[in-house]
Symmetry: C2
Subunit: 334 residues, 2 copies
């Protein structure tokens, strides 16, 4: 694809297991994009050179055609295992705080500004961290500015993140290891033994098993999970669920536990408090159904907001101009 | 060891990862014992032949000297993956019910009666199973007959079992996958990454980390575990805990969750209701401390009650005579 308008930014969403690059024009429009599985744990060679290689291979042609384009990056690329560590900004955090805490790396023909993650470190209770999700939240605000006043964001996945936003600032968040728990229990625990490899339950059986897990989560008390997990085995042993539906039961149980807890701690079931789901469509729709069944108002479903968030980060860092002024000027030109 | 009194039974405690054989005399005394790591998942060859090999190698000399000794077995040897499946007896269950549901296998020079496990299958809620623990409970009752009226039993481990006993019968139980969760999270999840291999924290640091996990468990609400687990990482990232103490934190968190839930569901914190811990000493003492910190009365600490339980099972099956009558007759002889 050859853009007809000039790009103003290259934005990199560089996570643990994938690399995404966006060539962006004024107004956060995506003009072109590239991607690969070269996440920070899957580089062609170790160390900074591996990062340079991937960046040059994926973005070299863009830089050759538009030399001097600013480049920003977010995600695990700024972690201790990344290209260069961008230490966490402390909560409450907004885009200007992220921009102040950013770090820079150099590649041939480009300087790359890496966004920090955010740390929530209450004096009492456990600390928590996000890295990349703060960018997705910024992107959601670009598309839905009304959320900036007060909203809750849920980004489901390997490590689900529940983010609270008040007056334009991230005020707190909680990580749930739901996706990773599901994966390690299926692969490495006794619970996976009765699950047939590569076989999926019929849609109705899968939905029933998921609903059973969800119901158990809804009825659970403190500490019950390690017991309820075992039902993944006993429901199979006693043939109450078909083997192919055991993973669906486990999924319903784990997602249910997360949502019960997340709603209780973030107040996201409060009437009038907007709740937005950010991420892959199928998973977000599954979470949306669970949220509604547990009493939350309908959630806003957003797709990938990372490019828009990286654009907002670049504006906050002074690397690109905010869109409206520029557009207005152009439209006003004779 | 060469017993001076004649044995009346060979009792096998044959689990997933270990084999134990006891040569027993009247009154459930252990005259001799053998053991190996040849659990049912670690046999010299697959199928029934593997079981025969282990039994012959370990118990052949006893049978040669005392031909015709009855043999009983309990544990996973009676599971679908065992020597022969002994289908679960249904809850409520007592020893005579176990004896009725036992199955027999043959080896050169011996018939072996395998005890069934117990199934709890409420019409509503998830089913649960035990296999081997019903024998340990029977052994505890032999040593402490007063517990038969009403008691709770806790057998901590890979799959912790909480068993309720009323009027001499097992009326219900709950499995907690605490030990397995700990192992798979340390070995296969992100949480293990910050834990230094083979390094242990200083006793004071370990105790502090364990207490922190326990406190978080005590303060948890429904569904919180998948979030609190992540603290194992963030407490390391933020250097609030030394890397070598992260496993202790995780242990305190998981055991705490189990005990919070177990006490709530079994009523084991009730004043005057005896609670007995059965199993390996160090682990049982750790659980006993957690139980007390969570408001339970002091627990009775029992060691390995499996041999005594297998002896009681053999009596219920009519394979050996109850002890008292025989002893009394001998003492009364001139």
């Amino acid at each position: 694809m050859s853009p007809t308008v000039d790009p103003v930014l290259i934005a990199l969403d560089w996570g643990t297991s994938s690399f995404r690059a966006f060539l962006m024009g004024q107004g956060a429009t995506v003009l072109d994009q590239r991607g690969s599985a070269e996440g920070i744990t899957n580089l062609p060679r170790p160390g900074a050179e591996g990062f340079v290689d991937v960046f040059a291979a994926q973005c070299g042609a863009w830089l050759a055609r538009w030399p001097g384009l600013p480049v920003v990056a977010g995600g695990m690329v700024g972690s201790a295992q990344g290209w260069r560590e961008a230490p966490y900004a402390e909560c409450p955090a907004d885009l200007s705080g992220l921009a102040r805490a950013a770090v820079e790396v150099e590649a041939p023909g480009a300087r790359i500004l890496i966004a920090p993650g955010v740390l929530s470190a209450p004096a009492y209770g456990a600390p928590d961290v996000i890295r990349g999700e703060e960018i997705q939240v910024a992107g959601a605000l670009q598309a839905h500015p009304a959320l900036a006043a007060r909203a809750r964001f849920l980004m489901p996945g390997t490590h689900s993140k529940w983010v609270s936003l008040e007056a334009g600032r991230i005020t707190g968040f909680a990580t749930y290891m739901t996706g990773e728990l599901f994966a390690v229990l299926c692969r490495h625990s006794l619970l996976g033994r009765l699950m047939p490899e590569g076989e999926q339950a019929a849609p109705e059986a899968a939905a029933e098993a998921f609903a059973l897990g969800l119901r158990m989560a809804r009825e659970s008390g403190p500490g019950d999970l390690a017991h309820q997990l075992f039902a993944t085995r006993t429901l199979g042993l006693t043939k109450r669920l078909p083997p192919a539906a055991l993973a669906d039961f486990l999924s319903g149980l784990l997602i249910g536990h997360e949502v019960v807890s997340g709603l209780a701690h973030t107040g996201a079931a409060e009437a009038g408090l907007p709740l937005a789901l950010i991420g892959e469509g199928t998973l977000c729709r599954r979470y949306a159904a669970v949220l509604e069944s547990l009493g939350a108002p309908p959630a806003l479903l957003l797709g990938n907001t990372a490019p828009a968030g990286l654009f907002q980060f670049a504006i906050a860092a002074g690397l690109v101009r905010p869109a409206p002024a520029a557009n207005t000027a152009e439209e006003a030109a004779p």
